[in-house]
């Protein structure tokens, strides 16, 4: 029986402390009864091999002990959908907070590194946010296991549920032109449009960010050898107008991602305007000129020529892409017009 005691000792290791004695007493008695039963059948005491065979058949101590434990989880199936939804909302709120913070830093004239640092801080904030939301829901789950509040609330909701209150049918996936625009995509676009507008309406460090992206480290020099040519003044107000059109579209699309006809019309207007502005800009002889006060103009002349040439072709290329986009929007509108299911859910 030494083997049995060793077996029970091994099972004990994996059992919850509060139940160890009770479970082992009962398990020991059952195993002893089984062994005695076998001895009666054979008419002799069991050999160690036969004892080992019975214990082996009973199972590994870890597995045996596991079956006495109730299934454990951090967040149960009743709460998990709410946990996941809360996680997405909270991470979005934190992300929105950081986005606003970045815009404030830009407006306040903070340096490029401070702005980039704030963006990186968001990545650092995601992990603790994730951990805290999980901890809170784990605690809620413990409470729910006791009081079953979620089950009660969902049962009540289920009783009050009226299928007639369901939202209108969304465009189906087989009508590519009528697919809703993902909110996340619109929110990111909205952030960049706002940043662009801030850059456009006032000289601020975001101008440096753009120059850094366009020109590399040269863009960060205290005194730039180039400045924007007068042609940009011509497009100043139209650019603001197009940005406002984009912002209006984005706000509407964040609230109603399925208004794809509205989206297509607004994009068509904006892209049409963009192509017109790009046409005006490509007609200009130069997009950048030497900054006043640059004494050794000859030194920068070649660099200026290259910058203007590259930008000229970039704008032509962008204009071609935008025209293609315009055709896509026209096609989208055409498809929505032909698809009654898609048309029924859009403005």
């Amino acid at each position: 029986m030494d083997l049995l005691e060793r077996y029970l000792q091994a099972v004990r290791t994996y059992l919850p402390t509060s139940q160890q004695e009770d479970i082992l007493k009962e398990l020991g008695e059952n195993l002893r009864a089984q062994m005695e039963d076998k001895e009666t059948e054979l008419g002799r005491p069991l050999s160690e091999d036969e004892l080992a065979e019975i214990l082996k058949k009973h199972g590994h101590p870890l597995l045996v002990a596991t079956r006495y434990r109730q299934s454990r989880h951090l967040i149960g199936s009743a709460l998990f959908p709410f946990y996941w939804l809360a996680m997405k909302i909270i991470l979005a709120i934190v992300g929105f907070g950081y986005a606003v913070g970045v815009l404030v830093l830009i407006v306040a004239g903070k340096s490029l590194f401070e702005v980039l640092g704030a963006l990186l801080n968001y990545v650092g904030a995601v992990l603790p946010t994730f951990a805290w939301v999980t901890i809170v829901f784990a605690v809620l789950d413990i409470g729910n296991n006791k009081f079953h509040l979620v089950e009660k609330v969902t049962a009540e909701c289920n009783q009050k549920f009226n299928p007639r209150s369901l939202p209108a049918l969304r465009p189906t996936s087989d009508s590519a032109g009528g697919k809703p625009i993902p909110r996340a995509q619109t929110i990111v676009e909205h952030f960049f449009t706002l940043a662009f507008l801030l850059w456009w309406i006032r000289v601020s460090p975001i101008r440096k960010v753009a120059l850094f992206i366009a020109l590399g480290p040269v863009g960060l020099a205290d005194k730039m050898p180039f400045q924007m040519a007068p042609v940009w003044n011509t497009v100043y107000w139209p650019v603001i107008l197009l940005s406002i059109v984009a912002i209006v579209r984005q706000v509407v699309m964040i609230m109603h991602p399925d208004r794809v006809r509205f989206y297509a019309v607004m994009r068509l207007i904006a892209d049409g305007g963009t192509v017109t502005l790009l046409y005006v800009l490509t007609r200009a002889s130069e997009l950048f000129v030497l900054a006043p006060g640059i004494t050794d103009a000859a030194k920068f002349a070649e660099a200026l020529r290259i910058v203007n040439l590259v930008l000229h072709y970039v704008m032509i290329f962008t204009a071609i892409l935008t025209v293609v986009e315009c055709f896509k929007h026209v096609h989208r509108l055409f498809r929505i017009g032909r698809n009654p299911a898609a048309a029924s859910s859009v403005v």
Binding site: E29, N30, A33, G59, Y68
Partner: protein
Amino acid sequence: MVDLGKLLNSDLFENLKLELRRGSLIIAVLAQLREEHYGYALRKALADRGMEIEESTLYPLLRRLESQGLLESKWREEDKRNKRFYRLSKDGAHILKQLLEEWQSLNSSLKRIV
């Protein structure tokens, strides 16, 4: 060489069999415990009636059913040994009656379908 398809099918079958047996086992245990039994004796009684069940499954199941109020237990001496005897509780008897009705209804439906 191992036939992966066969292996997956056999795993799938085992899982489905397990699911199918789970509810039936509870009915069998509850029904058998209309008479008082201790763990090992219950296993033997079930096996004698064709319902084989592993000890490592049965013993924790008994404790769970007791914690749910479907069984009652008491320690009692038998053959000079102290054993824990289980018996169907009042609530357990009520639930068993409902489960049996449900099982019979399912069974007759299945017979008409299969």
